[in-house]
């Protein structure tokens, strides 16, 4: 049992990168070495050496908590031993690969959930992740990389971090490292270069990581728009800038069984975070009871509601034969400033119906803005 004085939550620091090999783990270990040099108590909870010599060298001298061996389907897997870290109870623990999914049968499904447990126990955590694992960017990442990232971290988890630091490296330097076999073994490096590690893809990911880091600083340190450094002067003449009236936005996301709903939820969440707006989601059922729906439709809706909740969006389910009216009424009574709707699919028959729904809502929402969110999945190359 940790002692009673242990009421403080641990500090979370995330080292953010945009690809394997930019130096996240190295930076994490370097911080660990610095903490140890300052005479403080730090251990490695989990680190992925990837056979990289420089990285392994940086771990030398740091105490390592042995991994836990888990058997799953007759194979052995190694996972971070959260219980062992808790009983060792260091001041700081280094945990590589924040978005990692634990092997089935582990106490918690995700490594980030283990990290939250460590933080609750008052242990400081330094961890690493790449930008493409951020949930709200999932659709855009697929557009940029052509890859659907499955291991994602809800944005609220990263908001929980006290500090986010960027591990930056130019794509040119990264490709150099790849060529020299520093990042992956030669056969894997070649495959990586043909897919993910294209210079344009890397540049786009890097830009997203830079912008995300700037945003995370903005969220933590600026008092809304007042005295915002980038608000004061713009591209050209300054002094003309008028104070922006701060309106508290409330965003309402319309949940349906359409597959576009996931992208809609992510986008709504992201914009709400950027605008520091409230965000909630509503599903309107045509008749009482979700069970009366066809199975597929019911499952899709339940999945979408669940997804929204995981992103910390408050959800409601209402009944109403006229979806548009119910949605707009709800928006009015709840002081909603923006309704988020999915783009109608192009296919003809549902398109006519959807288009009517979108336009009906626009017509009814006489004092509420409506945002029709693009289907970013379609633009995948």
């Amino acid at each position: 049992m940790p002692d009673e004085a242990q009421t403080r939550e641990g500090r979370l620091k995330i080292i953010l990168g945009y690809a394997a090999g930019v130096g996240k783990t190295y930076k994490m270990l370097e911080e660990g070495q610095q903490i140890a040099a300052d005479g403080r108590d730090v251990v490695i909870g989990y680190f992925e050496p990837h056979d990289r010599k420089d990285t392994i060298a940086r771990s030398e001298g740091l105490e390592l908590i042995p991994r836990r061996v888990v058997e799953y389907r007759d194979r052995l897997f190694e996972e971070m031993d959260t219980d062992a870290i808790l009983s060792r109870h260091p001041e700081t623990v280094l945990v590589d690969e924040f978005p990692h999914t634990n092997v089935p049968g582990s106490e918690r499904a995700k490594r980030w959930e283990d990290v939250l447990v460590l933080l609750d126990a008052g242990i400081d955590v330094i961890t690493t992740m790449n930008i493409q694992h951020l949930e709200s960017l999932n659709d855009q990442m697929r557009e940029i990389t052509g890859i659907q990232v499955r291991e994602t971290i809800p944005d609220w988890v990263t908001k929980r971090a006290d500090e986010i630091v960027l591990a930056d490296l130019t794509p040119g330097a990264l490709l150099n490292r790849l060529d020299r076999g520093v990042v992956y073994a030669p056969d894997k490096a070649q495959r990586a270069k043909e897919h993910f590690f294209k210079e344009s893809t890397l540049a786009a990911l890097r830009e997203m990581a830079l912008r995300q880091t700037a945003h995370e600083i903005d969220v933590r340190y600026s008092e809304d728009n007042v005295g915002h450094p980038l608000a004061a002067t713009g591209a050209g003449v300054s002094g003309q800038a008028q104070p922006i009236p701060t309106v508290h936005e409330r965003i309402l996301i319309h949940i349906t069984d359409e597959p576009t709903t996931a992208g809609l939820i992510r986008r709504g969440r992201r914009v709400a975070d950027y605008l520091k707006a409230d965000c909630f989601a509503l599903c309107v059922l045509p008749q009482p009871g979700i069970d009366s729906l066809p199975t597929e439709s019911r499952q899709a809706i339940e999945q979408h509601l669940d997804f929204a909740r995981r992103l910390h969006i408050e959800t409601r389910v209402l009944e109403g034969a006229k979806a548009a009216e119910t949605l707009v009424d709800f928006a009015h009574t709840n002081g909603v400033t923006q309704i988020y709707l999915a783009k109608p699919p192009r296919s003809v028959i549902p398109f006519l119906f959807r288009r009517q729904l979108v336009m009906k809502i626009v017509r009814l929402a006489t004092d509420i803005q409506v945002t029709v969110v693009a289907d970013r999945r379609k633009r995948m190359r």
Binding site: V237, A241, V247, A365, R379
Partner: protein, 375 residues
């Protein structure tokens, strides 16, 4: 009357073209390590990169280091050939002729913003660098955000300190590679100040200031990367935009609630560190009153520092979408009215068409005369 300019490249496009050509003409490559404050480790990273390039067989020399270097850097410096600065002047100055005679493939130059003393061939160090690049020598250099001329007003407003040395932002933006040294501000708070322990209150204030500088530096690098990416895609003939950078296009008409739309657009652009465009599709028949309203709207847009664009075309939806696609717009703000006017002038309904035809862009619809400014 504003003149039609649809097919003519904008000044920015021309500038980009010129810059891209310049980059191709000079043979040396420029790499910049940018920091938001001193003490984040720029010099170390520059030397480390030099060391690695040397190990790979490149011919690397050092032409400038800071006047006072800490012991660890002094140690690394011993592994390099150093071309001594010109002596006998008020402050050190790169010996450009000596470097050119020596002709290394890579030259390390710390402190890009250094102002040369009288008697040097160039008033500023970045001009020395320019010469070396033109001569085919690659340069790796370091700079602190506060020395970028266009950022100085902002930095001074935050830090309350004035510096006189400056490098034009365009020079930094033309770098082939730029890398940011990101570190949490507490790192600098304990490391850069005079060595005495600073009060908690002062540390908190300093940390706040440094965070703002950090944000500006990150956004600057993101913009450089964005421009390079666009250049690259254009050279490859790829039309698609990745949407990495939020660009908001507000479409105004005399009837739309333009003030609200522009102020929301500005806010959104700022929150996303994005760009704001305000466009209007030129129409033939317009009453003098409408014309006056429109001029007022566009003036508001200019005040909001938006890029203002007058579009032309038979079909407003096509004109808007063509412009939006060219600019890589991610969100379009448009007004909607049930009354006569814009909405009923065309068939089918332009808002419907925008929703259906816009690819990869969100459409935000503002009711005309709905929400008011003061909630």
């Amino acid at each position: 009357m504003p003149e039609p300019e649809r097919s003519r490249p904008t000044p920015e496009q021309l500038l980009k073209q010129v810059e891209a050509e310049e980059r191709h003409q000079r043979h040396g490559k420029l790499k910049v390590f940018l920091g938001y404050a001193s003490g984040v480790g720029k010099s170390f990273r520059m030397l480390d990169e030099g060391r690695r390039r040397k190990a790979r067989g490149q011919d690397v020399v050092v032409a400038a280091v800071q006047q006072q270097v800490p012991d660890d850097i002094d140690e690394i410096l011993k592994n390099f050939e150093v071309i001594p600065p010109r002596l006998g002047l008020a402050s050190p100055c790169i010996d450009v002729d000596a470097v050119r005679r020596r002709r290394p493939s890579v030259c390390l130059i710390d402190g890009l913003a250094h102002r040369n003393p009288p008697g040097c061939r160039n008033p500023e160090r970045w001009q020395d660098v320019e010469e070396l690049l033109a001569d085919g020598i690659s340069v790796i250099t370091t700079i602190n955000l506060q020395y970028i001329r266009e950022k100085q007003q902002q930095v001074e407003a935050i830090r309350g300190k004035t510096v006189s040395d400056a490098v034009p932002e365009s020079f930094v933006r033309r770098a082939d590679e730029i890398e940011i040294m990101d570190a949490p501000p507490e790192y600098c708070v304990t490391r850069t100040e005079e060595g005495d322990r600073i009060s908690e209150d002062r540390a908190a204030r300093l940390q706040h200031q440094l965070s703002e500088l950090r944000e500006i530096a990150l956004v600057l690098v993101a913009e450089v990367v964005d421009h390079q990416l666009e250049d690259y895609l254009r050279r490859q003939g790829i039309e698609q935009s990745f949407g990495t950078h939020e660009r908001i296009l507000v479409c105004v008409t005399p009837r739309s609630n333009a003030s609200l739309m522009i102020s929301r657009g500005k806010r959104q652009a700022e929150r996303f560190h994005g760009e704001l465009f305000v466009a209007y599709v030129e129409q033939d028949r317009m009453t003098p009153a409408d014309r006056a309203t429109l001029e007022q709207n566009l003036e508001e847009a200019r005040q909001a520092q938006a890029h203002v664009e007058i579009l032309h075309g038979e079909d407003p939806v096509t004109a808007i979408l063509r412009f939006a696609e060219k600019q890589g717009v991610t969100q379009i703000f448009v007004g909607h009215s049930l009354r006569r006017g814009w909405r009923q002038s065309f068939f089918p309904n332009p808002v419907d068409r925008l929703i259906l035809e816009a690819d990869g862009m969100d459409i935000r619809i503002f009711p005309h005369g709905g929400e008011t400014e003061a909630p």
